[in-house]
Subunit: 445 residues, 2 copies
């Protein structure tokens, strides 16, 4: 425990709801095996690493995490994490797009790597678990392997991908879909090229961050669920069957601005009235499709935007997701029809602009089966489920067999200072990840 | 015609659709009486005055009028109008809140004044008729009386009220509802106090602009309809029965922000989904009430406003108007119930904030009857109707018997460069106003 940064436990308890072992209480030191031979990670070490990382970028007022990619707090977290990886015995390199890669050599130096990835960066006023949990569990996995003298045939890589929250920057670097435009993106007022130079990197070489499928045997990522499915069903682990297909559209409804007092209801071509009906019809369509389909209107505005003027234009966004591209496309086709009829009835014009279209990224069936096998061995209650959120795993699925584990989010909250995952659930995920990596090490060529 | 400012008729024709008499064609000079003895105003003079005023603040690109209160264009229009009033034989004074008051003495110097009011200021990118028509018709009425040697027993006042569009500034000065806060209101970056000083006025004395009911025998205002009722019914004149009661509210719906991908539809407390249903229910309520009730959602926004985040808060405005305060209040009571049930179903909280509450201002029945009598004498097709828009007349109704005439708006357009009223309809209004003033002059004590 000597390496842990001193914390003020009273304050931490208040802010996090976590309980630190009382001084003098007997505590488990290091990973252990239960009599059935199953390896178990060190709960205290995992918890302390999560708490320590959770101090970096913490807003003292809200308790939220401000660790937006390449902010001072993110850079501090990167330095801390590099030290942690090195202390855990990994050799660390920073690739051309600033991903942090810690490598533990395997016994077979010719084998492809098993890669465990996640991210250190947060959204503004995010929580302590999004991204961080995946890396702290990967770190704990390596520490537990050391405690238990577990050696892998395959090399093991732990990767902290750059700027996940801003748009999967680092993992897109790995699959070669970054462009020069991404390099001009501004972070805290400065282009990424300047940020990379500060880190001692040459932005001209960004395309060399690309990885070959030949280098990666499998990719695993642990993340918080960010939803309430596991909590409601009383489960500790979600095994991801795939990351949903996601479309984002901006809908523009053109009507006729007019006087709010002198224009009779029947004389109006009111784009706001039409947009309200369209928003209501989105949920009708989603409910008609059923299943895992979700749709959200996260932004809306009207012009000119004066209380006493019937608007000329209404604009709103639709974010719509489903594990199946076929179902998603069918819902969109139906929404186009629904909006067209509403527009006809209201005397307005409707236009669709595509903002984002992301294909579904299914997890690998062998990896899913291995995670199921590991979860069953421990008896941790679990289920297979889609990921409604995007993750670096969706990029890496293009390179290698991919799998993800979800830990429950209390209240389903995420991207919030109130984001929380119970330690026992994090431990269950870590145990399953550890056993699954050992199983994959045997199964993979 | 010698006093008319030189115009380039070709350009004016293009922009306005008005026809000037061809050179050499016989044209009516001055007002005249038809064989039935009815006075008729001078169509050409009225049209030319409208065109001339419509050059002041005209945006050469859009053709719209930029004559926002106390802008350079508004000040130019004020100077032009003062000269016009003086040329028509009125004595002009500027009151303490910068209203322009032109007075024509009556034969009975003890009698209270008949007041004709309107405004020179426009909204940004407004049209040539809103406000201007009322003043140009009042001016033509005085000129026509001079042409026809019509003398009134009552003094006649023509008033251009300051800043009608910004909130009935000048007419509120007359009824004594201005506060020191109104004087600090900024116009073009400067407080009203400074603007008044520029005009040679002492802002400290603003409350002395207040008029006594003893000074005003009746108040008449001609305005464009700003709606399509007259046009659709093929009428030339609207006789206003009253100005509607108007409420403005801001509705705030509080839900729970959450991830657009990982939060199942059934787990959401989505204020946008609730707000859309509320907006739809507003029209249902208005249709259930029927009659002249109108309601408008002119502004809406959600927070945080990202396409991939279920909003935490939705805010929208309601502008709701009816000639009857009882019907308006009943609709609001029902909307509160409707919103409450939607909020319960959606798991969100709803709050109402009152932005504006303006009582109805009924026109005076004797004045309405006089306007009806005058319109019938000419045979101009007309109807009685409410005013859905606010006007200075609603202030002055507190001081004196009030009446208004509406001229048809082509296409119902107003507050727009495309705003247009046909000259024949403007002439009909002017004739009726002239005859009505003559009748009132006899009827009023």
């Amino acid at each position: 425990m000597r390496r842990y940064r001193a914390l003020a436990p009273g304050i931490v308890l208040l802010l996090t709801g976590l309980t630190l072992p009382a001084s003098g209480q007997q505590m488990q030191r290091g990973a252990h095996r239960t009599p059935d031979g199953l390896p178990h990670v060190d709960r205290s070490r995992l918890e302390h690493n999560l708490l320590t990382l959770g101090e970096i970028g913490r807003d003292p007022v809200t308790g939220g995490i401000e660790r937006v990619a390449f902010s001072a707090a993110d850079l501090e977290a990167r330095r801390w994490f590099i030290t942690r990886l090195e202390e855990a015995g990994l050799s660390v390199r920073i690739d051309e797009i600033a991903n942090i890669i810690g490598t533990l050599p395997g016994q077979n130096p010719e084998a492809e790597a098993i890669v465990l990835g996640s991210h250190l960066d947060s959204v503004p006023q995010g929580g302590r678990f999004d991204g961080a949990l995946g890396l702290m569990i990967a770190l704990e996995l390596v520490e537990a392997m050391r405690d238990l003298n577990i050696l892998l045939s395959h090399p093991l890589e732990i990767v902290s991908f750059s700027d996940e929250e801003g748009g999967l920057l680092g993992s897109r670097g790995w699959i070669g879909t970054l462009t020069g435009e991404d390099l001009e993106e501004e972070y805290h007022g400065r282009p990424l090229t300047a940020i990379l130079r500060d880190l001692g990197l040459d932005p001209e070489t960004f395309s060399q961050a690309r990885r070959s499928p030949d280098e990666i045997a499998a990719y695993l990522e642990v993340h918080i669920e960010q939803g309430r499915v596991l909590e409601r069903e009383g489960l500790q682990i979600g095994i991801v069957e795939g990351i949903v297909a996601l479309d984002e559209y901006e809908i523009t409804v053109h009507g006729t601005a007019n006087h709010a007092g002198t224009t009779r209801m029947s004389d109006r071509e009111d784009p706001m009235a039409a947009a309200a009906r369209m928003v209501v019809s989105i949920r009708e369509e989603v409910e008609a499709q059923g299943g895992d389909l979700v749709a959200t209107v996260g932004r809306i505005a009207v012009e000119p935007g004066a209380p006493n003027v019937i608007p000329s234009v209404a604009r709103f966004t639709i974010d719509i997701r489903d594990p199946s591209r076929i179902i998603l496309d069918r819902a969109i086709t139906n929404l186009i029809d629904r909006f067209d009829s509403i527009a006809r009835e209201e005397g307005v014009m409707v236009g669709w602009e595509t903002l984002v279209q992301i294909p579904a990224a299914p997890a690998d069936q062998m990896v899913i089966d291995t995670l199921l096998e590991a979860a069953a061995l421990y008896g941790y209650p679990h289920r297979v489920m889609p990921s409604g959120a995007g993750h670096d795993a969706q990029s890496i699925a293009r390179l290698a067999p991919m799998g993800m584990l979800f830990a429950p989010s209390v209240g389903g909250l995420s991207h919030s200072p109130a984001e929380f995952t119970r330690t026992e659930d994090a431990v269950a995920c870590a145990d399953v990840l550890l056993r699954a990596v050992m199983l994959l090490d045997q199964k993979l060529p």
